[in-house]
């Protein structure tokens, strides 16, 4: 699998507004950010400050109302929906608070979903998925369903899934939010390790000071602004 590294991330004056019966609700107010490969950032802030919204826009899961987003110099929102999905699969990996594992698929199948999104799953892909599960310490649980895994184990599977396509951009939305403190630390350390191994650009939205400290660099989201 070829490593595709996003060398840079550039946000300029990104706004996000939602229509309501009264007046539009502005969640992001002119957010600007620039990062390069290997850099990590923790975004902290109170609930409703727009952290997850910002992450969704960076991850191309949502579109900004105004402003530009460039990943490796390209505007992903200029792509067609199908091309954007493919771009996302190759360049971006997600780790969610809810892990979002498919309950009907085994651990390895959940990891392989990332490959299935953009094509057929070959033997090399299966081998790569097994290696990733080994890497996160779940090589022996590959054929288990999510219902048979603990919370931490599920999150590890999610991390493995996020790394399958060797994305250059790793986005984490409260990755330790549902875990106990001990498991949280384990997961946090794992996230940072694999991000460094991949030389990926890591952004994590978190309430966890522990994770923010481990990451080292943090910015605060307040009232739609990144400060």
């Amino acid at each position: 699998m070829t490593t595709t590294t996003a060398r840079s991330l550039q946000l300029d004056g990104v706004y996000k507004e939602y229509p309501t019966p009264a007046e539009p609700l502005t969640v992001l107010r002119g957010v600007s950010l620039a990062m390069t490969a290997g850099q990590m950032l923790a975004i902290v802030g109170p609930s409703g400050s727009g952290k997850s919204t910002l992450l969704n826009i960076v991850g191309t899961l949502d579109r900004p109302t105004r402003g530009t987003v460039r990943i490796d110099g390209k505007d992903p929102f200029a792509l067609s929906p199908a091309d954007l999905a493919g771009f996302r699969s190759r360049h971006i990996g997600f780790v969610f608070q809810e892990h979002h594992l498919l309950p009907q698929c085994t651990a390895i199948e959940n990891v392989l979903m990332a490959r299935l999104a953009i094509g057929k799953v070959g033997r090399d892909d299966v081998a790569h998925a097994e290696r990733l599960l080994d890497r996160v310490g779940l090589g022996h649980r590959a054929t288990h369903l999510p219902g048979e895994l603990s919370g931490g184990e599920r999150q590890r599977v999610a991390i493995a899934r996020a790394l399958l396509n060797s994305p250059g951009l790793l986005l984490c939305d409260e990755p330790t939010g549902n875990l106990d403190s001990r498991t949280s630390r384990t997961i946090a350390e794992l996230l940072i390790e694999v991000a460094r191994e991949q030389n990926a650009l890591l952004i994590a939205v978190t309430h966890s000071q522990m994770l923010a400290d481990l990451i080292g660099r943090s910015m605060r989201m307040e009232d739609g602004r990144l400060i």
């Binding site: 949502d62 929906p81 996302r88 699969s89 698929c105």
Partner: protein, 1097 residues
């Protein structure tokens, strides 16, 4: 890992939800395919009926006149038939009445089939076999008893001829036979009928000789039944061979013709058993190059020398002749034989006047003065034509009498024998009925010619008689002589395709079941997808393109549809069997026979499955369309999109709804003001009202979301606006279904309130009489009643009633009671009185006057039909034509010029009497009589008619009953629709409950929260129930209200009423079932709400 494997994994994992989708799909497929298979079963049953009814009989040769039975043997001698036909059985087929001796129970409309030895259906002399239908109506449970049959007597002379025998004892004959067997099993004996209708007939099989004897027609038949040699796939070659064989093997006797040598032996006369030479024979003879003399004789009651009233003669034969031994008489010239001249003391140049009987339009005879006065041109000697009794055809009771005193005139013909002189008797002794007077043939034709014939003989030189006979047989077309061959089995198989599309009919009846099932599939699938929003969001985040996600969802849905469809295909047979059972029992009024079987055609199964899959794909597409249109971030958050800005869509929809409402109200008002627009007004107004009200209800549902809810029920109702699409779908289905149910309930037709209203469906008549043996007397006159042999002829009921008789050509029933396709409907002749009276309602002022109007083409014959018959059975619009064969096998084009609305003539076509007599010249007497009587007399008159005319095989029914019989078919269809529609509505409410049950899964955290803040279980139940019950009740109210308002024009302008109690019962049952099912669903779904559910929130 592949996408297919992922898909299959999803199907198994979410099996609980998927099973419900499969069940919905199975129901939709079973019902849709089942409906199609009902059509197959009805058609298959009708085809099987044909096979059972006719057995080995593939062809037949029939005639209105009797012919020698041994024609069947002659036909089979033709070698060209060897490969086509195996057997030919002569028979007689008659319609009459039957009564059980002893009990006296009797019935009309009995089909009497007389067969001879050699036939597989032979019955020994003195015995009979009856079918179960007849046995039941006569109350006969076992053989052994005697049956009294009343049959039409055979008199070959047309009954409208002057000397035709028309009295009761002359038109009827009887036969007493012992019942040797009652045949109930399906087969030829029990089901035989040539009309091909599916309705059971009353059949009696008797011995051919017995009937021949009873009718005094030894060796005669009117039917040959022919069995094909093996299975006949295409009857045309056999038909061609049969028609050729008929031409080749027919003799003059078969056409009721024979040759008689003249008194002096110099000529041979071609005469007919039916007295008159039909025009086809005349035309054929004209093509033969043999000298011919044409004669038409008539009986003159009184012949008088003008100016000498004392010099008269009575009861003399006058002959119209084209060549009186070289003399051609002028139009006003007359020749006398010597004897007559002496009796009248007449000389050449004297004037002669005649009086004779003439048949009136009501069938009575009246003596009239000839409009012409004849000048004597010649007196011829008493030899040759001057004294040739063979100029007058043989007439039993006249020409065979030894003296005039021995004459036996037919009933109604008054011969005053006191006027007969000694000289007359002397003449009779020497010359019998030799004509004494001669006029030109042209004059005789003008005065005494008729549609059935205007010649009584064609005479040729004796030495050319054989040549003439041989050539005549070559020229004669058997069909033109009424000897008609037909491929009866092939004809009935074509008719078995039916005129009613039962597949379409039951598809329509089951429409709501299908729609409810399809909507259930859509809603469940949509719910399932909604609950997997986060999964779809994840897949989007992982890089699944929106179209790919949609394909995955569609693929899942279609796979479920295929599985459900396969199960439904198997269940379709069960649904069809249930519908067939219904048609045999609860809805037997629609078809009139319980002879229905299940027939399954594989092609239909495939069509049903494919159609179901197409419907499912529409439902599934509706369910998954949002998958590709929602942002991944929204999906990940568990939602499907923000609330639509009310102003963006709601306002235009609101304006549209208001516009639609106003248009709907205007349309309904138009229907009230202008009754002729009622149907269109309802269709437009009702629909607009429903659509607008629904739009309003759905758009304004959002208003609840902005109000502060102050009660649990109000909060529940507010929740209905949360899933607007789902709510809209539910309300629409229930509203539409209840709208249709109420509308259909208003379409039931009650019997007419006032049968005296001339513009009602009864035409102002209270009774209708149908006679298999046509009535030859006019019930309005004492003479007519005498002729009919009525005993109570002086009853005041006769005087207070008015009767209109109609000649009838008995064909196939063209009403909705016959589900086979009629190609030769019964035809009635409309007398002049009907035109003047102008009864029944039609789109034009006086439709009857159109029957005599000249048509664009001379070969078109105008006819009138009932609107229902024209539209649904014959598939004709005004101006369209259909072709039938007339009495002589000539193809005639009948053109529809007008239709009657809801009349008693739904089984017949109506044409003018003049045209009728052109097509069916020997069809005399009245097959149908309409009676108008004061209300207090109707019951008594009906009894009187039934008693006095029973021997004529009559059925007397009230016109209201006849209309009710026709309406029963339509009302039965409406009942079927209501039953299945109600089932569909119930399925819709059950579907609502299932969707609710599934939806409660996502609502569990919500309910857990309510529990945490103090809501008791009952309160939570009220909350959820309020939301769903609101949808159910709103749908019912909107649909019912709009329908009731929509049918208002119809109710106000017609006599129809809505059976409100039945309707209320149906809707209440639906509401009760719906609420019960919803309550159960809520109770099941909201059990054991606990802290775990709150954590999920």
């Amino acid at each position: 890992m592949t996408k297919l494997r992922f898909l299959l994994r999803n199907l198994v994992f979410f099996r609980a939800a998927n099973l419900a989708v499969i069940a919905g799909m199975a129901v939709a497929t079973a019902v849709l395919t089942g409906a199609l298979m009902v059509g197959d079963s009805v058609r298959g049953s009708l085809r099987q009926m044909v096979q059972d009814r006719l057995g080995p009989i593939d062809f037949l040769v029939s005639s209105q006149q009797l012919f020698p039975a041994e024609l069947s043997g002659r036909l089979m001698e033709d070698p060209s038939l060897a490969g086509h036909l195996k057997h030919a059985w002569p028979a007689m087929l008659l319609k009459g009445a039957a009564s059980a001796e002893g009990s006296g129970a009797g019935t009309a409309g009995v089909q009497i089939v007389a067969v001879g030895e050699g036939s597989p259906y032979y019955v020994p002399a003195g015995q009979c076999v009856i079918n179960g239908t007849l046995a039941d109506v006569l109350g006969i449970s076992e053989p052994g008893g005697s049956l009294l049959l009343s049959l039409p007597a055979a008199d070959q002379t047309p009954r409208d001829a002057i000397l035709a025998r028309r009295g009761r004892n002359e038109v009827l004959t009887g036969l007493r036979v012992k019942i040797s067997r009652i045949e109930r099993d399906p087969g030829v004996l029990s089901m035989f009928n040539l009309a091909g209708s599916q309705r059971p007939t009353f059949n009696v099989w008797v011995n051919l000789r017995d009937v021949q004897q009873s009718m005094d027609q030894p060796g005669m038949a009117n039917l040959i039944l022919l069995a094909g040699a093996g299975r006949i796939s295409d009857p045309r070659p056999a038909m061609a061979a049969l028609q050729d064989a008929l031409r080749l093997k027919a003799k003059l006797e078969d056409f009721a013709l024979r040759l008689v040598r003249s008194v002096d032996g110099t000529e041979v006369a071609l005469v007919s058993r039916s007295t008159y030479i039909v025009p086809a024979v005349d035309r054929a003879a004209q093509r033969i190059g043999v000298p011919q003399r044409r004669v038409l004789v008539y009986l003159a009651n009184r012949v008088e020398k003008a100016g000498s009233p004392a010099t008269v003669m009575h009861y003399s034969i006058v002959a119209g002749i084209d060549d009186l031994a070289g003399l051609k008489l002028g139009d006003d010239e007359i020749a006398l034989n010597q004897w007559a001249a002496e009796q009248l003391k007449a000389r050449v140049g004297d004037t002669i006047r005649l009086r004779y009987y003439q048949r009136q339009s009501n069938g009575d005879l009246a003596e009239v003065e000839c409009p012409l006065a004849f000048r004597i041109a010649r007196i011829i000697p008493m030899d040759g034509l001057g004294a040739d009794k063979t100029l007058t055809p043989e007439y039993k009771g006249f020409t065979d009498a030894d003296s005039i005193a021995d004459w036996e005139p037919p009933a109604g013909v008054k011969i005053d024998k006191r006027l007969v002189t000694r000289d007359d008797e002397d003449y009779w002794e020497k010359h019998k009925a030799a004509p004494k007077f001669f006029v030109s043939l042209a004059t005789a034709r003008r005065l005494w010619g008729n549609t059935w014939g205007d010649l009584t003989s064609i005479r040729v030189p004796a030495d050319q008689a054989v040549t003439f006979a041989v050539q005549l047989l070559k020229e004669l077309d058997p069909a033109a002589m009424g000897l008609i061959a037909q491929p009866i089995k092939a004809r009935q198989l074509v008719a078995a395709a039916g005129t009613t599309d039962f597949a379409g009919l039951f598809g329509g009846f089951s429409f709501f079941l299908i729609v409810a099932a399809a909507m259930l599939v859509a809603m469940l699938l949509r719910l399932s997808i909604e609950q997997r929003a986060r999964q779809f969001g994840l897949l989007a985040a992982l890089g699944f393109a929106p179209k790919t996600l949609q394909r995955v969802a569609l693929g899942e849905g279609m796979l479920l549809a295929v599985i459900g469809g396969a199960i439904g295909g198997l269940a379709a047979a069960a649904y069809t069997a249930l519908m067939i059972h219904g048609l045999r029992t609860w809805w037997v009024g629609a078809i009139g026979t319980s002879y229905l079987q299940l027939f399954i055609e594989p092609v239909t199964l495939v069509i049903g499955l494919v159609a179901s899959l197409i419907i499912a794909s529409l439902a599934i597409t509706f369910a998954v369309w949002r998958v590709s249109r929602t942002h991944a971030s929204t999906l990940l958050a568990g939602g499907w999109g923000y609330a639509v800005k009310p102003a963006a869509i709601a306002r235009p929809m609101l304006y549209l709804a208001i516009l639609g409402l106003l248009a709907g109200i205007a349309s309904l008002l138009a229907g009230i003001i202008r009754p002729q627009l009622t149907q269109a007004a309802f269709a437009t107004g009702g629909f607009l009202l429903l659509a607008s009200t629904l739009i309003l209800a759905i758009v304004r549902m959002g208003v609840f979301s902005r109000r502060v809810s102050t009660s649990i029920e109000a909060l529940g109702i507010r929740n209905a606006s949360r899933h607007r699409a789902r709510s809209a779908l539910t309300i629409s289905l229930i509203a539409f279904a209840s709208f249709i149910l109420v509308t259909v309930a208003s379409m039931r037709q009650p019997p007419p309130a006032d049968t005296h209203d001339r513009k009602s469906g009864t035409g102002g008549f209270q009774l209708i009489l149908q006679a298999d043996v046509p009535l030859t007397g006019d019930l309005n006159t004492p003479a007519g009643r005498d002729l009919l042999g009525i005993r109570e002829t002086e009853s005041p009921l006769w005087r207070r009633a008015r009767f209109i008789g109609m000649r009838m050509w008995a064909g196939q029933d063209a009403s909705c009671l016959n589900i086979t396709r009629p190609d030769s409907p019964t035809i009635l002749a409309v007398p002049r009185e009907m035109v003047d009276r102008n009864p029944f309602r039609a789109a034009v002022e006086n439709p009857w006057s159109l029957l005599d109007r000249p048509m664009t083409r001379s070969d078109q014959i105008p006819v009138i039909a009932d609107h229902e018959t024209a539209m649904w059975i014959l598939k004709l619009n005004v101006g369209d034509s259909m072709t039938i064969a007339d009495q002589l096998g000539r193809m005639r084009s009948l053109t529809l010029v007008a239709t009657l609305k809801g009349s008693i003539f739904q089984g017949e076509l109506l044409m003018s009497e003049a045209n009728f007599l052109r097509l069916f010249p020997t069809q005399s007497g009245y097959g149908v009589v309409l009676a108008e009587a004061p209300a207090e007399d109707v019951s008594g008159l009906r009894k009187l008619l039934a008693t006095e005319l029973a021997d004529y095989s009559t059925i007397v029914e009230s016109t209201a009953d006849r209309l009710a019989r026709y309406q029963e078919v339509a009302n039965t269809y409406l009942s079927t629709f209501q039953t299945l529609g109600a089932l569909g509505l119930m399925l819709g409410t059950i579907g609502l409950a299932v969707v609710l049950l599934r939806g409660l899964v996502e609502q569990r955290p919500e309910l857990a929260l309510l529990s945490a803040i103090g809501f008791r279980p009952l309160a939570r139940l009220r909350l959820v129930l309020a939301e769903n019950a609101f949808l159910l009740v709103l749908g019912l109210l909107v649909g019912t209200f709009c329908a009731l308002v929509g049918v208002l024009p119809t109710i106000l302008s017609t006599s129809r009423v809505v059976n409100l109690s039945e309707l209320a019962l149906t809707l209440t049952a639906v509401l009760a079932l719906g609420l019960s099912v919803l309550t159960a669903a809520v109770w099941i779904g909201s059990r054991r709400i606990g802290p775990a559910d709150l954590r999920a929130e």
